[in-house]
Symmetry: C2
């Protein structure tokens, strides 16, 4: 009883607190997810900004002696909370990915002797890196600061969309340096750096670029660095290989202070005479096109040296995004989780164009985005599930521009393919499926979408018929992907089938009956990998035989990728009724599904698995990776909405905790967070592009979402509490729902979704 | 007597012959200079074209085991006449240089088995290269053809400014291939290729780029290849290193026919079903900016598949250039030498912009040339002497655009330097001096020049005061370059002094008295390295002591570069009278100078010397390299014009022969040839920018030069013959010259320069 009272008091205080404006900012804790597998970064960024200016605590080699180095996986975002040292501050980071790249243009202020090697974490005095304490670290939206113990320098970071701003406060006036390391990067390996180029234009301006190979095969980040204090002198790290200075080393006597250098892996040290303030500030503008583009971005976007104003301007941008969904919650933790999730959904895709719209296209030519903002970093296997549907609801205009960006990518693709996993004018084709079609088809539902639907349908169809990609020709020929033709065949068949459903939906929307029919047929191919004798999806060979060697629990089972057969067998989001029917009907299915959450999964199934760990698992249900993100809602379709409601609260409580290691898996560019946002509000897009959300059970006390069309969706609860996790009834604009579904169209018109909460499982919907 | 009659008959026949139009083309023999040290290329190009499409007979490694590989020097132009095999046809070549780069986008048609390695010359069956016979080879302006013995393919090449066109006639219909090798290049070494990128856009179009390091530190050549026949299938050479296909190797099953590849060193084989003609044609467009730029150039410049028309159009362009100087000569050999020299002067600098004016600037940004054509490849240590002065006389508009290109380079230079030796948006700072100032100052004399003279003067002054370059600060401080501060100190001091004279001239022209005075003072610094005790220029240390270890004949003597002290001591072109005075007056000097041509130079002075060989030497006079190119004319200043006249004929006869090994040294981007043109016509710019030519003795019978201002300069001779190499008298517009000089201003107004030839040395000028 005391506990309950305490909780109630806390809730009341909290609800009261929220009435004060701008507290949304305070609930964002960028450090959440920075320990273990969240792979988020704690640094500064504005919403969807090109720059993610953040500390890197290590950058291990991706390959050591030609072998994959598993440890590097930790450093997808460059930062691991438990690490004792900071190497420096780099300007580009993925948020939450499970494979990585970037970490471009690393900067580190130092004092004392000149150091141009990073050194090792076990002894930071071996290089320019520094020890630091979390007690001296502060991370909030668009602001990060830390005291660098070794150098006794207070480092502060903030950004605009295309500019990273640094403020370094030295504690002593002598021997003040800044290291500029163009070799450092995330997921480095021998041969990753293709070329680097630096011009010291004058004593307060440096331009250049870093060109890398790797996940993006041909990626160049151009920069322009403006300094608040003049460089007194500078040195470039010498290489044994003279080529770095080819044309220079004979003609110019001194490797110091030489303003034009190119080579594989340039590292510079800049020396300063400190002013009375003992502060040096720098602004690092990025560009996808050129150093002149970076200079243009610098001048247009960040002409000021008022660091605090840049922080505040960016935080106001954040407020604008965060206030699109105003929630009251049962406690502060939930508010922190909600707004941090909302924050994490705004860290990607990111703007990929200069202020004048210029960007580098997939074919490496420079284009100008007309009438849209160009975005990059599409982790679509993850984000088609909830992140883009979330955008389609609350960021319709941005989502439309993201679709335009994908269509531009398609136009520039020699393969005639929409993006699979694309970043920085490249596609790394990571994971499976062609899920851009789902995002596009879903976006087409929104009346605010302005992209050309017929052009988009053509791009979808071309992509889905690609002659090169991942077993598609066999899929079309056999009506499933034969495992002996292309690996991960079951996962592919299931996801292709869903994608094909999305294409059919878009075809219907554009009135293309023939395409609709074709792709509706393909949408049914999931049935062709179902082994009714065992009740699971199972790899099938071209001769029609199922694979003999089969373990439904093994994540490394042939035929699947990043999910075992048990979980993947539930992936028919676009035709759950047929799936349930195949699996024995409502009762059998509900019981089967329930066992997913209650069974014991032996440890051996987690060995050597990057994306799935104990932290992200309940029984055999894997929330830490994407294939099962819709699964909790499947009970709804078997008339067991109470189970959906119960497991929702369980997943929310176990997989999202407001602590540094609080995320149950990679945030995956906001997908994990978008699941949280939807589920906290009481609904979820089981089949994106269907236009239907499945009703769950809200975690919030109330919410108010402002859509881009000006309409407001309110979520209200009655008797919301930790105990009352079940739903007695749901009302849309005061009309009780008799099915656990609500449409995009309904929500998009605005209205009130009201949940009556209760502590006991029951039939929520009248149809039952 | 019989011989003389024979010669006379031949001359008459020849003069007659020349009255037929368009024979100028026939006198051009692109194979001249392709053996030994000429370093010219035999392939196809239009005047000043971006594309030089030419066979490469080998491409040795520049560095082997970290050591310089001297043999590679042979392959500056990719072709050595004595080589038994052709590796392929690449699209960019320097003409006549002594260090190299380029050889981009190598293409080779093959038949039979697929081969993606070049193989070795000793056994061409080891690779795609082929044996060939000179009897099956034809080289003329904008046309080259050869029969590839191993493949029994007739290869023909032609070009437009930015497009190389190939016609391959196979002798059998089966197994027809074309190799596209982006690894191959001139002066290759491990690490030279930075990145290559290929897209097979469709079955008749390929785009991509080759990015290299090296002499140009950061150079990218973009291309678009259009094929007359569809590609049936294609393969990319596999590397052990998976990075080449990063992102591709897992997702796409087949390395064949995959249309988007990037890596360090891509090599493709294309297969064709031949049409009935058994011919495949390809057009390879280049661009300095992008593959879209290359596509634009392709469409704008070469829409046709009419190979013969492209040949003819280009040859018409050549005729236009060649007919700017119409000569009659004593024999066909002289006509061949003259027009081949004229041809060689039109192979560089080369156009470096897309058809819309876009080009890559020195800072690697894309710019648009407004109101001028952008040029690259400025081998200025060579070409300021005679090539640019030649242009200033007969190519005034082009020369103006070349100056505009240099000023754009300056604007983009972080060092605030005019080009030294620049190509493809880079400066390799090869050799010494800042001779762009001479070219600019000289160009300013031409009333057709439109560049901003004050802006140009500023660029010249900034360059000459550069704080980084090659001992300039010491030169300014000590009034000579101290050898202990910067190597090649005497060569630098002498050339800087001349350059400074040029700047003073330009300053005078713009009315900047202060700058004129400053640089006239610097122009006198040559005196500070003269050791009057021995009569030679001599390296001096900062403490004022001359270097003890000193050998006037040694080309590797400290203090000098590519010339010994004997030759270099004569380098005061802007103040020859003072030089003669220092060296003991006219008589002593003339005798001293004469000994240069008559002395014996032991072999040891040629060991390990790339740019100077027996072929280019008369006594100790080195014509095969540039520092002495003005020297023959110095007798004029000591009242011994007869010696100038005698040695002129000797140099012309020995150093320029109409055979493959007929050039006495590197043609050096046309400098050797420009010397020939001037000297054949009877005058030479000893001190460019002075506005004065020194009168020699013509080789031609007559000439008619049409200038860009429409004026015509005629050269006429009386009693011209092989024997009558001396000049009795010289008349300008019928007024006898009393000094061996004529001004730019005089010639530029048009008129008749008439030489009365004689067999006996005598006082030509009345002043004597």
């Amino acid at each position: 009883m005391r506990i309950i009272s305490y909780c109630l008091a806390l809730i009341c205080a909290f609800v009261l607190n929220l009435s004060h404006a701008q507290n949304e900012l305070k609930y964002v804790k960028p450090l959440i997810g920075t320990a273990k597998m969240g792979h988020t970064f704690p640094g500064a960024s504005v919403p969807f900004g090109m720059v993610q200016l953040s500390p890197d605590t290590d950058t291990l080699q991706y390959e050591v002696d030609g072998k994959y180095n598993g440890d590097v996986y930790k450093y997808c975002a460059g930062y691991q909370y438990d690490d004792p040292t900071i190497v420096g501050f780099s300007h580009t980071h993925f948020s939450g990915t499970g494979h990585s790249d970037l970490g471009d243009i690393l900067v580190m202020p130092t004092s004392g002797k000149i150091q141009m090697n990073p050194g090792v974490a076990s002894d930071p005095t071996t290089g320019y890196r520094s020890a630091y304490q979390h007690t001296n670290e502060k991370a909030e939206p668009n602001y990060y600061s830390v005291l660098l113990d070794d150098h006794q320098i207070q480092a502060e970071l903030t950004t605009t969309t295309r500019v990273g701003m640094h403020r370094y406060s030295y504690s002593q006036a002598e021997d003040a340096h800044i290291v500029l390391d163009l070799n450092s990067g995330i997921y480095p390996y021998e041969g990753k750096n293709v070329w680097t180029f630096v011009r010291v234009e004058n004593d307060t301006l440096i331009t250049g670029y870093r060109q890398t190979n790797g996940w993006a095969r041909t990626r160049t980040v151009y920069f322009a660095i403006s300094l608040s204090e003049p460089i007194k002198s500078y040195q470039c790290k010498k290489r044994d290989n003279g080529h770095i200075y080819r044309g220079f080393w004979r003609k110019f006597n001194d490797a110091s202070n030489f303003p034009e250098v190119a080579g594989l892996d340039l590292v510079f040290n800049l020396d300063f005479d400190l002013p009375a303030s003992k502060q040096v500030m720098m602004k690092v503008a990025l560009s996808p096109t050129s150093t002149n583009g970076a200079l243009m971005n610098l001048k247009a976007e960040c002409p000021t040296w008022d660091f605090d104003k840049v922080v505040k301007d960016g935080q106001n941008e954040w407020l604008k995004e965060l206030q699109k969904v105003k929630v009251t919650t049962m406690n502060e933790s939930d508010a922190i989780n909600f707004y941090t999730a909302l924050y994490h959904t705004c860290l990607g895709p990111t703007v990929y164009s200069d202020v004048d719209g210029s960007y580098k296209g997939l074919d490496q030519n420079i284009y100008k985005a007309e009438n849209f903002t160009n975005y990059t970093t599409f982790s679509l296997w993850d984000t088609y599930r909830a992140l883009h549907p979330w955008f389609n609801l609350v960021q319709a205009k941005r989502n439309n521009d993201m679709v335009e960006s994908m269509l531009a990518h398609y136009d520039q693709s020699v393969l005639k393919m929409l993006p699979i996993w694309s970043h920085y004018a490249n596609d790394n084709w990571c994971m499976i499926g062609y899920h851009a079609v789902s995002v596009i088809s879903d976006a087409a539902l929104n009346p605010l979408s302005t992209f050309d639907k017929k052009r988009a349908l053509d791009a979808c169809v071309q992509t889905a018929n690609n002659a090169y990609f991942d077993g598609i020709p066999s899929y079309i020929k056999y009506k499933y992907v034969p495992e002996d033709h292309s690996g991960s065949s079951v996962s592919k068949t299931l996801e292709y089938a869903f994608d094909d459903y999305s294409i059919a939906r878009l075809a219907a929307l554009t009135g293309d009956k023939g395409t609709e029919t074709t792709f509706l047929q393909r949408a049914g191919y999931f049935e062709n990998v179902y082994d009714s004798s065992i009740g699971y999806m199972r790899p099938k060979k071209a001769n029609g035989e199922f694979l003999k060697d089969f373990d439904v629990l093994n994540t490394h089972q042939r035929g699947f990728i990043e999910g075992n057969a048990w979980n993947y067998s539930l992936y028919v989001p676009h035709n759950v009724p047929r799936m349930i029917e195949m699996m024995g009907g409502n009762k059998t299915f509900a019981s089967h599904l329930d066992s997913l959450f209650t069974m014991e999964l032996p440890d051996k199934y987690f060995e050597h698995t990057e994306d799935i760990s104990r932290d992200g698992i309940i029984g055999n249900y894997v929330h830490g990776n994407e294939p099962s993100h819709h699964v909790v809602y499947l009970f709804n379709y078997a008339n067991r909405e109470d189970k959906t409601q119960a497991y929702l609260r369980k997943v929310i409580r176990e997989m999202y905790r407001p602590v540094v290691d609080g995320l149950g898996g990679n945030d995956d560019c906001g997908q994990m967070s978008a699941w949280y946002l939807f589920s906290s509000l009481g609904f979820y897009p089981v089949a994106p592009s269907s236009g239907v959300y499945s009703i769950g059970a809200p975690l919030v006390v109330s919410a108010e979402m402002t859509l881009d069309n000006g309409k407001v969706v309110k979520v209200e609860t009655k008797n919301q509490s930790e105990k009352n996790k079940f739903v007695k009834a749901v009302y849309w604009n005061n009309v009780r729902l008799d099915e656990p579904f609500i449409s995009f169209q309904q929500l998009n018109e605005g209205g009130i979704l009201r949940f009556e909460m209760t502590s006991k499982p029951q039939n929520t919907f009248q149809k039952n």
